[in-house]
């Protein structure tokens, strides 16, 4: 057995990390703005994968042979599904509880998550069993000497990078991004400055859900199978990545996600039990040693 630290593992780790990063961004943005751990976030990823699955069959019959165009519409469909459902969940389940004790929204989030998972597995057209995901783009293996990489892995890393650059620009440069930053710093002051807080929150859910949806499409393509419960594990791992980076901190979520992806890939190559448990071990270590995460700021208790 060769070393577990080879080029192949690094690329795989980056690919897993890219998917975690897209999910973790939504967790961290929502937490940054409403201080809610949105347990249902992993299910937006699942919805994205199913929407992509459905959209592929529609668009593939509309535009026969135009692979690029189909892939583009499939991406849009997955992001729209994740984003819109996230916004609806916020409007129907989280918004009425905004000013109630924080734990009641957390429990509601668990309820929303259970609802989405079981509702989709109970729906006869979706069903509780695995479906194989079609190849949206022909699968090609690229040989790099020491490593063989599928073009899907490259696509995963690139799509995630483009989306993340777009998000950075949105948050840093646009007025809406400024409003988002303002609300996450101080809700009341932001309201006094004339920012429509609920609109900003709603938009944050939309972007977060859309990113999770895109991650669902990428994961569906790469591992080619989908199931209504597919969001639980990646959702948890991405959440841990967000905590590792410092929850509420956008660059932190990306950093945490790549660290998690690499750590998990190396650990699984070493031993499957350690691979299964390493994420939770990281979580517990972070929370016990540095609960604010790698890049998070320390928040003092207000008296």
């Amino acid at each position: 057995m060769g070393s577990i630290f080879n080029a192949q593992q690094v690329v795989n780790g980056l690919q897993v990390g890219s998917i975690y990063a897209l999910i973790a961004l939504g967790y961290t943005m929502v937490y940054g703005i409403v201080r809610l751990i949105n347990f249902a976030h992993g299910d937006f990823y699942m919805l994205g994968a199913y929407a992509a699955y459905a959209a592929f069959f529609v668009f593939n019959s509309l535009f026969v042979g135009k692979t690029g165009l189909v892939a583009f519409f499939v991406l849009i469909a997955s992001m729209a599904a994740g984003g819109i459902i996230a916004m609806l969940a916020n409007r129907l389940a989280y918004r009425p509880l905004r000013y109630k004790p924080k734990l009641s929204s957390l429990i509601t989030a668990i309820g929303v998550s259970m609802f989405l998972e079981y509702f989709f597995s109970a729906l006869p057209i979706v069903g509780p069993s695995y479906r194989s995901f079609p190849d949206i783009i022909p699968r090609v293996n690229i040989n790099l000497g020491s490593a063989t990489i599928s073009n899907y892995v490259v696509i995963d890393i690139l799509v995630a990078a483009v989306l993340m650059i777009g998000l950075t620009l949105l948050v840093k440069k646009s007025t809406l991004g400024k409003a988002m930053r303002a609300v996450s710093q101080d809700k009341d002051a932001a309201r006094l400055m004339g920012i429509d807080i609920e609109k900003v929150i709603s938009f944050t859910f939309l972007i977060g859900g859309a990113f999770a949806g895109a991650a669902g499409l990428l994961a569906g393509m790469t591992y080619p199978r989908i199931v209504p419960y597919m969001g639980i594990q990646p959702g948890l791992k991405a959440f841990i990545a967000a905590v590792l980076g410092g929850i509420g901190n956008i660059p932190g979520a990306v950093l945490g996600a790549y660290i998690m992806g690499l750590a998990e890939t190396f650990a699984s190559a070493y031993n499957s039990l350690i691979g299964e448990g390493i994420a939770f071990a990281i979580l517990i270590l972070v929370l016990l040693i540095r609960p604010t995460g790698l890049l998070g700021e320390k928040i003092a208790d207000k008296i």
């Binding site: 734990l103 259970m114 109970a122 006869p124 299964e276 071990a281």
Partner: protein
């Protein structure tokens, strides 16, 4: 001269004895079938789980999401003792004592695990604590999944059927009495004060860490007892029984019943166990009658919606923080 009245509490014991005699009577005379008794047994075990989780989440205000992991520890430890070490079965003479010992050891080990997890994690608050307890719960489940001696992913099979109505009933009544007395004691008051305002509790000299860990350990102990009883009722212990989703089911019970109300937990544990079975039967009957593909998943859809609606429209649950008269102390004048 002020008359000292006896505490009203024995009323709870009397009610419990009446409940026991009625159920046992109905079963022995054949009016109630074994299936119904099985559901009642399950409800009673859920009462132990809900009341012990309520001590942590409701009374002390520390949000734990990994309660079933402690039940898992109890189930696996007691199951290992009875099935793999002593290899007893209900016809073994004196086996019942080994069984009772095994259940207690399971509870104690769960309590120790609760201490090991609680001591470091209870420094965290609110949702961070929720996540870390969930993480520990998943780690415990992963460990069960990977120990071949106790069956790994197949689960521990062939556990002797020792949990009968009498055993479960006595365990449940003892749990409720002990936790109820604890809540009414000065220790319980200290726990309540942590829930109400941790900083203020600390300022009046309450060792908050001690009481949080105490609540966690006691909760874990009773969860371990419940897990052991479950394993000896269903005759198996399986890693999926003790995952995050199952912890959520117990969580739903205490929130539906009312956080901080033991009465509410008891009502909700019975109500939801019966609702769950009712939905299982109802959905199957509906699917058979209409020939439509209506799957058992709808049961969990109803559960999820119930949780969301309770949170949205009755955040405090059925009972709020109120207790039934049976569980209250009588004021002595």
């Amino acid at each position: 001269m002020a008359k000292i009245k006896l505490p009203k509490f024995p009323k709870f014991l009397m009610a419990a004895v009446v409940f026991y005699l009625v159920i046992q009577g109905l079963y022995t005379t054949g009016i109630m079938n074994g299936y119904l008794l099985h559901i009642i047994n399950q409800s009673l075990i859920y009462v132990i789980l809900a009341v012990s989780l309520n001590l942590i989440n409701g009374i002390t205000g520390q949000f734990s999401l990994g309660h079933m992991a402690f039940a898992g520890v109890g189930a696996y430890v007691s199951g290992t003792i009875t099935t793999l070490i002593f290899k007893i079965n209900p016809s073994t003479p004196g086996g019942i004592w080994i069984f009772i010992g095994a259940i207690l050891v399971g509870g104690l080990v769960a309590g120790v695990v609760g201490f090991l997890i609680g001591f470091p994690s209870l420094r965290l608050k609110g949702d961070y604590l929720a996540i870390v307890t969930m993480g520990f719960g998943e780690i415990i489940r992963t460990i069960f999944n990977n120990i071949d001696y106790v069956g790994g992913p197949r689960g521990l099979l062939g556990i002797p059927m020792y949990s009968n109505f009498t055993v479960i009933f006595i365990a449940t009544v003892l749990t409720v009495i002990i936790i109820r007395n604890l809540v009414q004691s000065s220790h319980g008051r200290a726990m309540l004060s942590i829930r109400e305002n941790e900083l203020a509790a600390e300022l009046v000299g309450i060792n908050t860490t001690k009481y949080k860990v105490l609540a966690f350990v006691i909760g874990a102990f009773f969860a371990g007892i419940a897990g052991g009883l479950f394993a000896h009722l269903l005759q198996l212990a399986h890693p999926t029984q003790f995952g995050f989703l199952k912890s959520t089911e117990v969580l739903i019970m205490i929130y539906v019943g009312g956080v901080g109300s033991l009465t509410g937990s008891i009502i909700a544990a019975f109500g939801l166990t019966f609702l769950s079975e009712g939905l299982r039967i109802g959905i199957r009957a509906l699917a058979d009658a209409t020939n439509l593909p209506i799957g058992g998943e709808w049961r969990m859809v109803v559960y999820a919606l119930l949780l969301i609606f309770i949170m949205l429209f009755r955040t405090e649950g059925i009972m709020g923080t109120k207790e039934s008269k049976l569980l209250k102390l009588e004021e002595v004048d």
